[in-house]
Subunit: 308 residues, 2 copies
């Protein structure tokens, strides 16, 4: 068995912290995944304390899963990709975190997703999960489409689909738009009888709650429900437009990922579907690839220093 000392320079921690959960992996130098851990929300926008707790917790769970509980967090080099840190104020906050790792390389969740999807190479990704966005990484230049958050942005995300459904169902219960099958479907799913009951359930709910209602919209659309079809068409049109904006930058590869991918893809334009290639690795592996890149840059710098 390797001792703590033998291992400490070989192990990398990869973190993918999103609005719903935080995923961690432990990888060895041969890029083998030794263990994984999942904890609560990792987006610092919804709470710095919660995000940093989730990161630490998921890292410990990943070590445990790898049978490496004797390794301490301060022996790990961490690549950490987080939702929200595209905002300068949150990036600063996270960089000021007294983190428990040996070193921490911080990136957006978008960059690590893109690095993972294209195994560290250039490319573009579209993401639709709880939130939505587009991202490209070409010749070291990053481009972002969306990634604005909910409810003011994140069109065609799970949260957006869920909110559109709730809005339309409430209007239909007032008789202001026609009622379709989606109205009783949503009321039944949320165990409500009328608009007052529905409002009690949804009042003050956040993106994650609304994202949990997104599949119902696709279920209804697949059954031909007119309101659901119109919501899905509007969402798909946004992703089509996003894909065209990203494609204009000529990425070598383009992928789509996030929890809604399987359902949304079928509704995209055929030209868009043909552009999409399967992601090679998940974002948490992208986080490890990012940490390796950053370590490489640091070593390059110290090599330059020594030769100077």
């Amino acid at each position: 068995m390797l001792t703590s000392n033998d291992k400490k320079n070989e192990l990398l921690l990869g973190i993918d912290g999103g609005g719903t959960k935080c995923k961690a992996i432990i990888m060895n130098k041969d890029n083998e995944i030794l263990g994984t851990g999942i904890s609560g929300p990792g987006n610092p926008l919804h709470g710095f304390e919660q995000a940093t707790n989730s990161i630490t917790e998921s890292a410990k769970l990943a070590l445990e899963d790898a049978g490496l509980s004797h390794i301490k967090l301060d022996e790990l080099v961490a690549g950490v990709g987080l939702a929200g840190v595209n905002l300068p104020v949150l990036l600063e906050k996270m960089l000021s975190w007294q983190h428990p790792f040996k070193s921490m390389h911080l990136a957006t969740d978008l960059l690590i997703a893109c690095l993972g999807a294209h195994n560290g190479n250039d490319g573009a990704v579209m993401i639709s999960g709880t939130g939505s966005c587009g991202f490209s990484c070409i010749d070291g230049k990053h481009g972002i489409v969306g990634a604005h958050g909910f409810p003011h942005g994140d069109k065609s995300s799970g949260a957006w689909f869920g909110l559109q459904a709730v809005k339309q169902v409430l209007l239909s219960l007032d008789g202001l738009v026609p009622q379709t099958a989606m109205t009783p479907l949503l009321l039944a799913k949320l165990n409500c009888e009328d608009d007052t009951g529905l409002v009690e359930v949804v009042a003050t709910q956040k993106a994650t709650f609304y994202a949990q209602q997104a599949n119902l919209v696709f279920d209804a659309a697949e059954q031909g429900d007119a309101v659901a079809l119109s919501i899905v068409a509007e969402g798909a049109e946004y992703i089509n437009d996003m894909a065209k904006t990203l494609a204009a930058k000529k990425p070598p590869r383009m992928s789509m990922l996030g929890g809604l991918t399987a359902r949304l893809k079928a509704w995209l334009g055929e030209d868009i579907r043909l552009m999409l290639e399967a992601p090679i690795e998940p974002p948490e592996v992208g986080a490890v690839l990012f940490a390796r890149q950053q370590q490489g840059k640091q070593q390059d710098k110290s090599a330059v220093k020594k030769s100077a």
Copy 2:
């Protein structure tokens, strides 16, 4: 000068508690307003503690304004109209409040607005302020359209107009919809330079913040801005539909009120504008009228008891 004892049976407190502020008036038996007070948000959905503090605070300010600081709250009969208490769970919570008044008659903000607008008589109202809704009170029967809250409902409210503006401006900054004059107008108003700056300002903002951006949409629409015109047209169409739904119940009078009324009215259908009559009294007077009605009912009941 009247003593505290002489006054206590003559004075009524009227409270109109909304999402942005809580207004109180003190009225004497001749329906003269002796004093007014304004405090913070009074909608218990956004905090029971805050709402009850706002109610108490505004009442004290109204007494002070009337030069009646020597009168105690437990000498006042209060009519209290609150946003949010159309939800049974919030109604129960407010009814369980150990309020400081002699007695409290609790109603929705909609009912007191309607009673005020028609001076205690039957009628219907449409409200567009921070939130939006329609309400009718005819032969003792209440009808509600909307009043669902933000962001899932409250179409054509101040918050809705502001959110639509932010959404469209963010899409325009990504190049996914055309940029119009509204984009630089909103960025300048919120002191931002780009989409990242705008997202930092709007992230986690609530209805009241968005409602503060509504006038900018109307300003832009009046200048012929295409995006603003399309937002205003969609909002006005919703109010037109709401008016038709209410008119179908044949209310003797219909009024529109709330902070956006003056701006929205100009964009409504002519048939709708012709239906609208000016509100006679404000909602806080409606709250006093409600308290009087409830006291009357109680006296009727005790009269029945005595004669029985």
